[in-house]
């Protein structure tokens, strides 16, 4: 990653600037949580996919959107305790 000028960005800044940027010691849980959040946000942003799921689940599109946005809160549950890792 680099700026428009070609200078590299320090990792701390990168993490602030781009959502979901990982790091060397990323835990499996954080990594997969990020993926789930990206997926859910992508579903919400594509109306056609939302409506596809809405037909399958027989829910209203707005209800499905709300469910997905709420699921972003914690898509994979609590992280395993530190000592377990």
């Amino acid at each position: 990653m680099s700026t428009a000028g070609g200078n590299s960005i320090p990792p701390e800044q990168l993490k602030v600037r781009y959502l979901g940027t990982g790091h060397a010691d990323i835990s499996k849980h954080e990594w997969i949580t990020n993926q789930h959040r990206d997926t859910l946000a992508s579903h919400v942003a594509h109306y056609d996919q939302l409506s596809y799921y809405a037909v399958a689940q027989n829910e209203s599109i707005a209800r499905l959107r709300l469910n997905m946005l709420e699921k972003i809160y914690s898509p994979c549950g609590a992280p395993p305790k530190k000592e377990d890792v």
């Binding site: 946000a41 919400v44 942003a45 109306y47 027989n58 209203s60 707005a62 809160y73 992280p79």
Partner: protein
């Protein structure tokens, strides 16, 4: 049968052209405003696939027919599309903004382009005012674009991402009055998920944006135990204030809302109201504003009686409408479709404070993506699924008698309970205190217009199944739940038959004569006075009045010979041309000009002042009306040297006394344009050679694409069934060099002039009737067939009752028809299809074609449709619960939508019927309180009888049918059996089920289903079935299994286990099976009959979540995936040979050894922009070449057309490359990047982008044409030809 289609080898360098046949008809969001002109009430809609459309509400009582005395006639209201913009990007949000002092609204679009676009639609032209870039492309979590909110005073807008980012743009004006946009101000907040944003109205104070959001815990904090996810989502409403003085944005105020809050609506502020926001959530509507004191203002919403008390009802949309004198009310819709009126009571002492709110039930409407209230008391509902509708408010003050809940009652109950806020405001308490109701037909609203929507389309099938039509029909499965339907789409305009009457013989021609009596002229209405029907040796004159009556000899017409032409002259007389002379009739007296010698008139043409006749042998005689004496003066005959086959004298332009040219068709396969100027009479101006004899010609002025003079257009119908259309220079009379030809049918084409939507059009009659007319918007000429029986002769017809009709003959009948054009732009690509629908009971899942009947002679093709709804009860259970799907109060035995009409009492008069129809509304059945409930049925439809239901079998409780296939078991002879795959007691999250079955039915001759047996299957749910080599192939979870029919159940023959996730689609051809996986793309499987084994031949590199597939040839398959891509995959050469397992050591090709399985090659890749749910290979015209037709979840029908010539490939590639550069980018998205959204576009040309050529300015068109070494006319013709070849 589909599996018996001829599979032929396709060329190795497959190149496809994507063309839209019908645009996506779903609406993802809509807004009311004034966009193209001041004072016009218009609706802006955003459609999936990236189109923005503006619709205007039009009604029959405004405009020029104001003074008409037909007041008792009900006013009709319709929506007319004013403009359409293809943005070629994914539209995520739209918002309107009105700059201070402006009288029109601008449009802001949030898209996937990483830009925000501000556009002006003045006069129907798009002007991109600003398009500042702020982020990456794509619909990412942190890229703004998902939400837009505007300051009600038009000073700023906020664009936010789902997570973290919010940007505020300040809008201003420079000294010259041009709008300016400042660089964005950031209002980011990390780990914050936004659910909705609105601009708060606080007059001219600093703009404030309200955001409904929550913050998720930080991973580190969770690990350190600083926070926990146990607390759950805690939503807040936050005010972001833009300080105009300091030019920065701060989070000014936040308050927690109830946990299920979902949507916001701002109340009017400043001098108009109390400001603040309404928050809709599950079971409650809340009012919040900064600085509120006293009790919470929250009210429960009235609930349906049959709704389980533990299941919440979500308010999904809220809108506030301001009435006159700073009165306002809000509308809220629930996820079930119930619309509530939310009235806001102000504090009598302090008008800027809200004292309480009341939610009362208004009516039950389709579940919508928005609520748009117009100033004229109309409500537009863009439905999530099914047709969109426009309603008229009949009553809005409903608080008195409708079920209502007020915030005071809710708070009282809360205080009485003594519970905490968190514990009290839940679903169970809401259902305890809320008023209840049973949904009924509309009481306070009235449906006045519906806009067709095919969304969601779940399946498609194409074929000429109606049995008596020339072209194939498209059958689509549409809708969901109570709005499900099976639609039959036919190319062409819908025709209304107004009258049919028998004639004494077979007519040879039909004409109408205009009424130009002073009386009629005074009314300024062009109506016809007579219909003249000509037979071989007689003429029938019919007078048009209240009724159409025959007039005999007293009309002074020659009735014992055929009529060759007739017309009303400018002086009120009538001219009739018959074989032996020209007759001038006035007030019952007649003068006649007789043919010289024994010559006979062969053909003739007349208008208001001119007559031209052709004698046998090629003599032309011209007559012109002498305005002073009022007689027709004949000019000396001129010998043309060839026999004349047809001629036309053209029409008079307004203000002219004569037509300048006549078109004459000769038997030597040519058409000449002759001058009618007095000094150059009948001299040839130009001529064109044809490939067949002209049968009929028409010369007329048509609307041109520019705003200036009309174009003169010559249309020629040829004997070989084709037509030629060419422009004629209105001054020199020269024929343009590039005529457009088109094959219309098997009969000689007769051409006549008609009027549609007050513009000139041409009616062309061959074995199918067609209409040709210019589309001023795209600058193209549109040819559309009429969905009607073949007509022999026809001409325009107009009367007091029928403004724009057609009188035509077919066999020995005379018919009066009218072409449906009101409310839609007839013949534009979008309206190229007309549809008929029949209602279904549940969401249709799949359909297949099936040959019913056991005897070979009684075979009949029927459609089998499997329908199922999740979270729904079956029909019996619904009836037992007392659910009434019609809401009319009388509970019927059969709630099947299809039978409603026949059950209606016939004695009620027509008005009541209309009224009833306007009040019908879809009502969702009771929602089960626990997951795992299904309603499902199997239906047999008869396509030859308008898809009427022959039989419908309801499945046992909670068993759902998902797939069906027609199978001919070789061991059972030739009889086709219907196999249906069902799953019982399935829940989706998590995926669980009780059992899965394959049910085999016989379809008897009458279309009745007869159950043979049910076979339980293990290993997974059955989602795909296919006929395979006289056996049944079933995709059961991860297993592919081959079944043979047995006496009491199906018998397993062999199976292949260990497919990636779940078999979703299945196809069989030869010894191959093509298996589409739910997540892992295609697997090619081969059946080795010698060893009775299914062997995996090849699979795909990319993990595509397959939704549908269609076989192109033995090695090539087209697939659609869940992300909206279409790909064509091919088995590499030789891969199959390696899969032949001679030694029996199957392990070599075992899927477990993933790296040795050959991989499919990707031939084509294309991002459609919408989830593709079905595709089929078919031609849309009889005998045409095949293309791949696909349908999407949001209701688009598109075609991928294979190129047949290298020349066309080059042309389109060059044109596409030019347009990628030069076509306007309304949202700043690069077209190529958009079509490569998930994977780079490959071997597919974006035809819609190429068609944008027609909408460019002439200079740009010319520039592009030069770049590809062609001229503008050629390019447009090529585009037209491609589309014409398809339809």
């Amino acid at each position: 049968m589909s599996e018996e289609k001829v599979v032929k080898q396709i060329s190795p360098d497959l190149k496809l052209l994507d063309l839209t046949l019908k645009n996506a008809s779903a609406i993802q969001s809509s807004l009311m405003g004034e966009f193209t002109a001041e004072g016009s009430q218009e609706i802006l809609v955003a459609r999936p696939g990236g189109a923005l459309e503006v619709y205007k509400i039009e009604s029959s009582d405004d405009g020029d027919n104001d003074e008409d005395e037909d007041e008792e006639e009900e006013t009709r209201v319709w929506l007319k599309m004013v403009m359409r913009v293809e943005t070629k990007s994914i539209i995520r949000s739209i918002e309107t903004v009105r700059l201070t002092g402006e009288k029109r609204d601008l449009i802001i679009v949030g898209s996937d382009s990483g830009n925000t676009s501000v556009m002006d639609f003045e006069g129907g032209q798009v002007k991109i005012l600003h398009c500042p870039a702020f982020g990456k492309t794509g619909c990412r979590r942190g890229t703004p674009g998902q939400y837009l909110a505007k300051d009600p005073k038009g000073r700023a807008f906020m664009i936010s991402a789902i997570e973290k980012r919010k940007l505020v743009y300040v809008l201003n004006r420079d000294s010259s009055g041009q709008s300016t946009i400042a660089s964005p101000l950031e209002a980011h907040r990390s780990r914050t998920i936004v659910l909705d944003t609105v601009g708060v109205d606080n007059g001219y104070d600093n703009p404030i944006f309200a955001s409904l959001e929550y913050q998720y815990p930080d991973e580190e904090d969770l690990l350190d135990g600083m926070s926990s996810i146990e607390d759950g989502v805690q939503k807040e409403i936050a005010y972001y204030e833009l300080d105009l003085g300091l030019n920065h944005v701060s989070r000014r105020w936040a308050a927690s809302t109830h946990p299920s809050a979902c949507c916001l609506a701002p109340l009017h502020g400043g001098a108009d109201g109390p400001s603040g926001v309404l928050i809709g959530g599950e079971d409650y509507i809340e009012y919040l504003h900064e600085g509120m004191t006293g009790d919470k203002i929250i009210c429960a919403i009235p609930r349906r009686k049959l709704h389980p008390p533990n299941k919440g009802i979500l308010i999904t949309h809220l809108t506030v409408h301001k009435q006159k004198k700073s009165k306002f009310f809000a509308l809220a819709q629930s996820e079930l479709g119930d619309v509530y009126k939310v009235s806001i009571r102000l504090d009598p002492d302090d008008k800027t404070k809200v004292a309480g709110i009341t939610a009362s039930l208004l009516d039950t409407l389709p579940v919508a993506n928005g609520l748009n209230v117009s100033k004229l008391g109309m409500l537009f509902i863009p439905a999530e699924f099914g047709d969109h509708a426009l309603y008229q408010f009949e009553r809005i003050d409903v608080e008195g008698d409708a079920p209502s809940c007020s915030s005071e009652d809710t708070i009282q109950a809360f205080k009485a309970s003594g519970a905490t806020e968190k514990d009290f405001f839940n679903t169970v308490n809401a259902s305890k205190m809320a008023a209840t109701f049973t949904p009924t037909t509309l009481k306070n609203l009235r449906s006045i217009y519906t806009m067709e929507s095919l969304a969601p389309t779940t399946g498609v099938l194409i074929g000429e199944l109606a049995g008596n039509e020339v072209s194939p029909q498209i059958y689509t499965l549409n809708g969901r739940g109570p709005r499900s339907s099976l639609r039959t789409l036919r190319h062409g305009a819908a025709v209304t038959e107004l009258a049919v009457s028998d004639l004494p013989g077979t007519p040879g021609a039909v004409y109408t004569i205009k009424d130009i009596s002073p009386d009629a002229l005074e009314k300024k209405r062009e109506v016809d006075k007579f219909i003249v029907v000509s037979f071989a040796d007689a003429t029938l004159v019919l007078k048009i009045g209240e009724t159409v009556e025959e007039v005999g000899k007293e009309s002074s017409f020659v009735t014992n010979a055929k009529t060759l032409a007739c017309a009303a002259l400018a002086n009120g007389k009538i001219v009739q041309v018959h074989p032996s002379g020209v007759r001038l009739i006035s007030d019952g007296k007649a003068q006649q000009w007789d043919c010289p010698g024994l010559k006979r008139i062969e053909c003739a043409s007349a208008n208001e002042s001119q007559v031209i006749v052709a004698l046998a042998g090629g003599d032309l005689i011209y007559f012109e009306l002498d305005p002073t004496t009022g007689v027709l003066v004949d000019k000396p005959p001129i010998d043309m040297g060839a026999d004349v086959s047809c001629l036309d004298i053209g029409t008079l332009q307004a203000g002219r006394s004569r037509s300048m040219f006549a078109a004459v068709g000769f038997r030597d396969q040519s058409v000449k344009i002759l001058s009618l100027e007095p000094n150059k009479l009948l001299t040839q101006r130009s001529s064109t050679a044809l490939r067949a004899r002209p049968h009929s010609v028409a010369l007329q002025y048509m609307k041109s694409s520019g705003d200036n003079a009309d174009d003169l257009v010559l249309t020629i119908g040829l004997d070989d069934g084709s037509s030629v259309r060419t422009g004629v220079d209105a001054i020199t009379g020269s024929i343009s060099t590039s005529p457009t030809g088109r094959f219309l049918g098997a009969r000689p084409v007769s051409v006549s002039r008609i009027t549609i939507d007050s513009t000139a059009a041409t009616l062309l009659l061959s074995s199918r009737p067609w209409i040709s007319r210019p589309d001023p918007k795209s600058g193209k000429n549109i040819m559309a067939p009429l969905s009607y029986a073949p007509l022999d002769h026809g001409c325009s017809f107009s009367s007091d009752a029928i403004k724009e009709g057609i009188v035509a003959t077919s066999g020995t009948t005379l018919r009066i028809l009218s072409v449906e054009s009101q409310g839609s732009a007839l013949g534009t690509e979008d309206e190229a299809f007309n549809s008929n629908k029949v209602d279904l009971r549940y969401t249709p899942r799949q359909m297949c074609l099936h040959a019913a009947g056991t005897q070979t002679d009684a075979k009949k093709l029927v459609l089998a449709v499997v329908e199922s709804d999740y979270n729904d009860y079956g029909l019996e259970k619904k009836n037992a619960m007392g659910f009434d799907p019609t809401g009319s109060g009388k509970n019927k035995e059969d709630g099947d939508g299809m039978d409603i009409d026949s059950d209606e009492e016939k004695d009620s008069d027509e008005e009541d019927e209309d009224d009833k129809k306007a009040r019908v509304t879809p009502i969702r059945g009771p929602v089960p309180d626990l997951p795992g409930h299904w309603g499902s049925c199997i239906r047999i439809c008869d396509p030859s009888n308008g898809c009427s239901t022959l039989d419908c079998v309801e499945l046992p409780e909670n068993e759902a049918a998902f797939c069906c296939a027609s199978v001919r078991f070789h061991s059972r002879g030739g009889e086709a059996l219907l196999a249906v795959g069902t799953v019982s007691g399935m829940t989706l999250h998590p995926m669980k089920y009780k059992g899965s079955f394959i049910v085999i039915y016989r379809v008897l001759a009458g279309g009745k289903l007869h159950l043979l047996h049910r076979t339980p299957v293990e290993d997974g749910p059955v989602l795909a079935l296919a006929h395979f080599q006289g056996r049944l192939l079933a995709g059961i979870g991860q297993t592919l299994r081959l079944y043979e029919i047995g006496k009491r159940q199906l018998l397993r023959k062999c199976e292949l286990r260990g497919l990636p996730t779940m078999v979703k689609t299945l196809h069989g051809a030869g010894d191959r099976a093509y298996v589409g996986d739910l997540m892992h793309s295609m697997q090619f499987v081969r059946y080795d009959s010698a060893t009775n084994k299914l062997i995996l031949v090849a699979n795909d590199r990319l993990p595509r979540p397959i939704t549908c597939q269609e076989l192109l040839d033995m090695n090539t398959i087209a697939v659609g995936d869940k992300f909206g891509n279409i790909s064509v995959l091919r088995l590499p050469r030789g891969a199959d040979a390696r899969a032949v397992d001679m030694s029996g050591t199957r392990a070599l090709w075992d899927s477990s050894r993933d790296n040795v399985t050959p991989r499919l090659e990707t031939l084509c890749n294309y991002y459609v922009g919408e989830v593709v749910t079905g595709m089929t290979r078919s031609s849309l015209v009889a005998g045409g070449s095949e293309s791949l037709i696909y349908v999407t979840a949001t209701g688009r029908i598109g075609a991928l057309v294979p190129f047949t010539s290298r020349e066309n490939v080059e042309f389109y590639t060059e044109l596409e490359a030019c347009l990628r550069k030069d076509a306007p980018r309304y949202t700043g998205r690069e077209p190529q990047a958009y079509r490569s959204y998930y994977a780079p576009i490959k071997n597919v040309i974006d035809g819609d982008l190429c068609e944008a050529y027609g909408k460019l300015s002439f200079e740009e068109q010319q520039k592009i044409a030069q770049q590809i070494d062609r001229n503008v006319g050629e390019v447009i013709k090529k585009l037209e030809d491609t589309r014409n070849a398809l339809l």
